[in-house]
């Protein structure tokens, strides 16, 4: 169990992590956010590569800089270090200095992924390097594994195998895996919970069920004659976000495709947006359309970005 309490970190005069609070239990988490939102910084803070300015990080109720805790947590960066001229064998020896490596499993993974053990890592392609490091990360069997953009550049066959191994190892009740990625589609199926951060702050945290009631998407077609003045052809008002904002709706996005408008709003428990739009604007068509999980997460990030720019 990872508890992050009021975590703040300033880097180069910008606040990278801003009073962040998180509660992470077991399972596979997806960590999502824009570029520069603070995902890698968060990982570095969790693994004690950085020290926080304010706040606490408790892992299994102990501070994260203690040796026993550190040996149970591993952070795999998107471009990890390997010594010059080292082969996979050398790399394994290196990791064995710090962690317990399940060598049989590791060799099985290397064999299945067709990674040569005695060739220099510098001759590997980017995808092969990623595969090698993920294999190592999986074989050190730590309780807390943090993967930063680990799937980029890996071919679909290898990716399938890796996902299966991840499911085998990290969906137990006693381990935690956090994957930071921009590829929400591939994370969608693998993760049962998501953490969305933006500008160092937490936007949302939870599983599918808790996030699915946050936004609504409507398809709207207007009867333009209703909206025009009788004498001239001018519209009473323009169809833009302000139109809906005046109705006290929290607009996230408004897109026009031909004559159809797609409106996404954030849910407010007290009001019924369907009736408000119907009563005030009398549209020809007003239909709710489903949102995919992917869309929901992107919308969370967009909404947080807009919130942030409002405050500036």
């Amino acid at each position: 169990m990872i508890e992050v309490i009021n975590l703040t970190k300033k880097l180069d005069k910008t606040i990278a992590i801003n009073h962040l609070n998180l509660f992470i239990t077991n399972g596979i988490y997806g960590l999502v956010g824009q570029n520069g939102a603070g995902k890698s910084t968060l990982f570095r803070l969790l693994s004690d590569v950085y020290s926080q300015d304010e706040g606490e990080i408790l892992i299994d109720s102990k501070p994260n800089y203690e040796k026993e805790i550190k040996s149970n947590l591993f952070f795999l960066q998107d471009d990890p270090y390997y010594a010059n001229f080292s082969t996979l064998k050398n790399l394994t020896e290196f990791y064995k200095c710090f962690y317990e490596v399940d060598e049989n499993y590791l060799n099985y993974l290397f064999k299945t992924l067709n990674l040569p053990i005695n060739k220099q890592l510098s001759s590997f392609s980017k995808g092969m390097k990623r595969q090698a490091f993920i294999s190592l990360a999986l074989s050190i069997n730590v309780k807390y594994l943090l993967l930063d953009e680990a799937f980029d550049g890996i071919d679909p066959l290898a990716l399938d195998l890796i996902k299966q191994e991840i499911i085998k190892k990290y969906s137990n009740n006693d381990k935690t895996l956090i994957i930071a990625s921009h590829n929400i589609e591939s994370l969608e199926k693998l993760c049962d919970k998501f953490i969305i951060i933006s500008n160092g702050k937490m936007v949302a945290q939870g599983d599918e069920a808790s996030m699915s009631h946050v936004f609504i998407k409507y398809q709207i077609i207007f009867n333009l004659s209703n909206l025009k003045l009788s004498t001239s052809n001018k519209l009473y008002f323009e169809i833009n976000e302000d139109l809906f904002k005046k109705l006290d709706l929290h607009v996230v996005s408004l897109n026009k495709i031909g004559s159809v408008y797609e409106l996404v709003i954030k849910v407010n428990k007290d009001i019924n947006p369907y009736e408000i739009i119907k009563d005030n604007l009398d549209p020809v068509l007003l239909e709710e359309i489903p949102l995919t999980y992917n869309e929901i997460i992107t919308l969370q990030m967009l909404d947080a970005k807009m919130d942030g720019s409002k405050h500036e």
């Binding site: 970190k9 880097l11 570095r44 693994s47 004690d48 590569v49 950085y50 020290s51 040796k67 026993e68 550190k70 040996s71 947590l73 591993f74 952070f75 960066q77 471009d79 990890p80 270090y81 010594a83 020896e93 290196f94 064995k96 200095c97 710090f98 962690y99």
Partner: protein
């Protein structure tokens, strides 16, 4: 201490150990050739006794002290790149153990080859002495045209030489700690090299100045002008090792005791003793700092310069000392002084630019730098004025 990590790190540093050993072997060969060359001893014209003790391994000892410059670059390499830092700093070590393990291993990389090669050197001289015992050397006086021959017997006092070896190992630790102290504050290899150099120049200027002060108060400088004096300007540690400790060996077993102690009371040696004590003290402080103080700005590893006092004081204080020495120690004519004055500014700017990795100067650097440039300017004017008034 993690045994597997120690084994791994030694394996990684085998090339470094190889290079150090290689250099020491070369210096050993030079020493052994040199020690047999009578041209070296031409100043021992008329020796007080027929017996003289020499140090056959002086160059090897000086060399190992110079090699302490580079080893800290390897010891702290784990924080000189972002990727390395990410991997090493997250790994499970207790407290400062990573730093301490690397530090001790670095010292062993220097000390162990030195011990082996030093003992080989001693063994070699012992064997050659068994074969040609004693040396008969032709001594040539300083006046050309006049030669006379004298027989001087050279012996090597192995007891003192072993003692000398331990002395060098101790000074090795001190110099190594001081260089590591400087390298510890850096966040990349270039900065580390700059910090080590600056700290070295800083120490050298202070430690040179102290004995100079005492010696300039004497009307006659009593010691001969030889390689030992030259070493004064090269490295204070070596200078102490050579002038005091080596002279202990060269005096001969029975004379040594009296000469050494009576020499120490001589005014000129007070300076050496002060320098020596100073350097030992800061060396021990440096070692303790490395052992016990944790790094504060881990996020700067592999990135930019820290904001600690050391990072600001070191370059500026050293430049201030350089400014002082430029006009007090040297004797140049006015044109050269102008050139030196301008060169000082250029050097200062280049130093700050390479530390900050940008052409803009930071605020604190500007304040300190401005003050020291002003000092430089005043000294420049003062030294020209003095020259014009008194010459």
């Amino acid at each position: 201490m993690n045994k597997k990590y120690i084994k791994y790190q030694i394996k990684q540093w085998l090339p470094l150990i190889g290079i150090i050993s290689g250099i020491l072997i070369i210096t050993l060969i030079i020493d052994l050739i040199f020690s047999k060359n009578p041209m070296n001893y031409h100043y021992y014209e008329a020796s007080k006794s027929n017996v003289s003790y020499q140090n056959p391994l002086i160059i090897t000892s000086c060399c190992i002290l110079c090699l302490t410059f580079f080893v800290p670059l390897f010891v702290f390499s784990y924080k000189y790149s972002i990727k390395k830092a990410d991997t090493y700093v997250q790994s499970p070590f207790k407290n400062n153990n990573l730093k301490i393990t690397n530090f001790i291993l670095g010292y062993l990389c220097l000390a162990l080859p030195f011990i082996v090669i030093f003992l080989i050197g001693l063994l070699s001289t012992y064997i050659t002495q068994l074969i040609n015992n004693p040396y008969h050397v032709i001594v040539v006086p300083q006046n050309p045209g006049m030669t006379y021959y004298s027989h001087i017997t050279f012996y090597y006092n192995y007891g003192y030489l072993i003692l000398f070896m331990f002395f060098i190992l101790f000074m090795l630790f001190i110099e190594y700690s001081l260089n590591s102290f400087a390298a510890n504050f850096a966040n990349n290899t270039i900065d580390a090299l700059i910090y080590i150099s600056l700290f070295f120049i800083f120490r050298m200027l202070i430690l040179y100045a102290i004995p100079q002060y005492f010696m300039q108060n004497l009307d006659i400088i009593e010691y001969d002008f030889n390689i030992f004096n030259l070493s004064l300007t090269i490295m204070p540690v070596i200078s102490f090792a050579l002038t005091v400790f080596n002279s202990l060996i060269s005096r001969g077993y029975f004379d040594a005791k009296d000469v050494f102690i009576s020499d120490l009371y001589k005014y000129q040696y007070v300076g050496y003793v002060i320098s020596f004590t100073f350097i030992i003290m800061i060396g021990i402080f440096a070692a303790l700092y490395i052992f016990f103080i944790k790094d504060k700005y881990k996020e700067n590893y592999g990135r930019k310069r820290n904001n600690t006092i050391f990072d600001y004081l070191l370059p500026h204080l050293t430049m201030m000392f350089i400014a002082f020495s430029l006009y007090t120690i040297t004797r140049y004519d006015t044109t050269s002084k102008i050139v030196i004055f301008l060169a000082f500014f250029v050097m200062y700017y280049c130093l700050l630019a390479s530390l900050n990795k940008s052409f803009k100067i930071k605020k604190y650097d500007l304040i300190f730098g401005g003050a020291i440039s002003l000092v430089n300017f005043c000294l420049f004017i003062a030294s020209i004025t003095i020259e014009h008034l008194y010459l």
